[in-house]
């Protein structure tokens, strides 16, 4: 009987989780001890490393969620292993995406207060992150309230799919609309090698953390499906005498 916390994970997932833990520690060391403090922004600039890492992965997970929705609808929602995986991956990416989005939207204003002197501006990238976050929340609200049957899943998948072109239009619109606002400071790229090390280290750490969370969440979803199937079989057996 498996009961321990780590035994519940498959070996691959345990390895992934361990790698993520190491990478997070390494990234923190790189951010605070390898990268120098930025000349004008000082220590507050350190938040950038995890802020950008979260934002990039939020976008990646959003794209993945949309592709899962596309695959789900492409499979026609037919019961089967492929549908279960695609569906579970859709939920997993959306939930982890919301967590990353929350990180982006908390660290962003904190940093903006120091760098731009204001908590929030309707700067294009900020607005886009907010809209991705809202689309993710709507997706999860659909999963929670529109029913977990095939119908509810179909609607949620539809939203994930329509979110992809919608995001393109939102991006275009906010870019034109917010034209007068300050531009993101890092257009020139990271010149300092120490900063570059810290940036890529935190990027790798976010990748591993996201992958771990998504894979664990996917496993939970698959197990849930198996449990439902077992209950169904039990019901059928007791009904049959």
């Amino acid at each position: 009987m498996k009961t321990g916390r780590f035994e519940d994970l498959t070996n691959a997932q345990a390895g992934l989780a361990a790698a993520a833990a190491v990478a997070v520690v390494a990234a923190l060391v790189a951010v605070f001890f390898v990268a120098p403090s930025e000349a004008t922004l000082g220590i507050s600039q350190k938040i950038f490393y995890f802020h950008v890492g979260s934002a990039i992965h939020m976008m990646l997970l959003f794209a993945l969620c949309g592709l899962c929705g596309l695959a789900y609808l492409g499979l026609g929602g037919r019961p089967g292993r492929a549908t279960a995986i695609v569906d579970g991956l859709g939920v997993a990416t959306a939930e982890v995406g919301v967590v990353l989005g929350a990180i982006v939207l908390v660290t962003g204003p904190l940093w903006a207060r120091k760098a731009w002197g204001t908590w929030w501006t309707w700067e294009p990238r900020l607005t886009l992150s907010l809209m991705v976050f809202l689309l993710f929340l709507a997706y999860l609200a659909l999963r929670a309230f529109a029913g977990s049957d095939r119908f509810g899943r179909g609607v949620a998948s539809g939203l994930a799919v329509i979110g992809l072109p919608a995001l393109y239009f939102i991006h275009f619109a906010v870019e034109r609309w917010g034209g007068a606002h300050p531009q993101v400071v890092f257009k020139g790229g990271l010149q300092n090698p120490g900063m570059r090390v810290a940036f890529y280290a935190s990027l790798a750490a976010m990748s591993l953390v996201s992958a771990t969370l998504v894979s664990v969440r996917l496993r939970v979803e698959m197990l849930k499906g198996q449990l439902d199937a077992l209950y169904l079989a039990l019901d059928r057996r007791s009904a049959g005498g």
């Binding site: 609808l73 609607v155 539809g158 329509i162 072109p165 619109a173």
Partner: protein, 224 residues
């Protein structure tokens, strides 16, 4: 031309029922009228600001009132499983979907014909560029109807659909609101250093892309 006949038949059915019962048009029109009155009290403390608020109020009113219509759009298809019977019949799902979209467009258009003059009147706005103003309203409303009808159909049987529908459609419709407000502002002569052309092209692009996407998705989603 069979698809066109099917489209016409579904649309005729909806219009006939609507003009006998008026249970979409009345709530929509009354709601939008009430919204405009509430907005007038909320924003008209400063007469000089009316031109700044006007375009935004136009689009909030259109979006909210269109949602009232969307919530009711598939109500009569739910009873006795009408929509599924409709789709079981040898008709193309796309024809049914487009008939519903056009139906919603007509209802929203009628509501706008009543409400928009009121907004112009209450907020003391003058339309200086009529084609641009009308194009903004028309193109924006098409986008709202396309996205809204898709999710209205899909959420027909869901619990709390009245709450879920705006939750799902508004994030997708943000670009329409942004572009709509800009072009409407230009239409009523707001002093903006912009041309309406790019925004109108943007709205045309939105309508075309989402016309195709929603049509394909409706077909897939009713089968899934």
């Amino acid at each position: 031309m069979r698809a066109l006949d099917q489209f016409a038949a579904v649309l005729r059915k909806d219009l006939t029922i609507e003009f006998r019962s008026r249970d979409i048009l009345y709530p929509m029109a009354l709601f939008s009228f009430l919204l405009v009155v509430v907005f007038s009290f909320a924003f008209l403390s400063d007469r000089g600001k009316a031109r700044d608020y006007g375009p935004g109020i136009v689009w909030v009113t259109v979006l909210f009132s269109a949602t009232v219509g969307l919530n009711r759009l598939f109500d009569r298809e739910r009873e006795n499983g009408c929509l599924w019977s409709l789709l079981l019949a040898p008709v193309s799902a796309g024809a049914v979907f487009l008939a519903k979209v056009v139906g919603h467009l007509l209802f929203t258009g009628l509501m706008e014909a009543l409400t928009l003059p009121l907004i112009l009147l209450f907020f003391d706005l003058a339309v200086v560029d009529v084609p641009v103003f009308l194009a903004a309203i028309a193109l924006g409303t098409v986008g709202v109807s396309l996205v809204g009808t898709l999710f209205s159909a899909m959420l027909m049987n869901a619990r709390m659909k009245e709450v879920l529908l705006p939750l799902v459609t508004y994030p997708v419709l943000v670009p329409v609101v942004i572009a709509g407000v800009k072009v409407t502002a230009l239409g009523v002569g707001a002093p903006l250093a912009e041309e309406p052309g790019p925004w109108l092209r943007f709205l045309v692009g939105f309508d075309m892309v989402f016309g195709v996407v929603t049509l394909l998705l409706f077909d897939r989603m009713v089968r899934a």
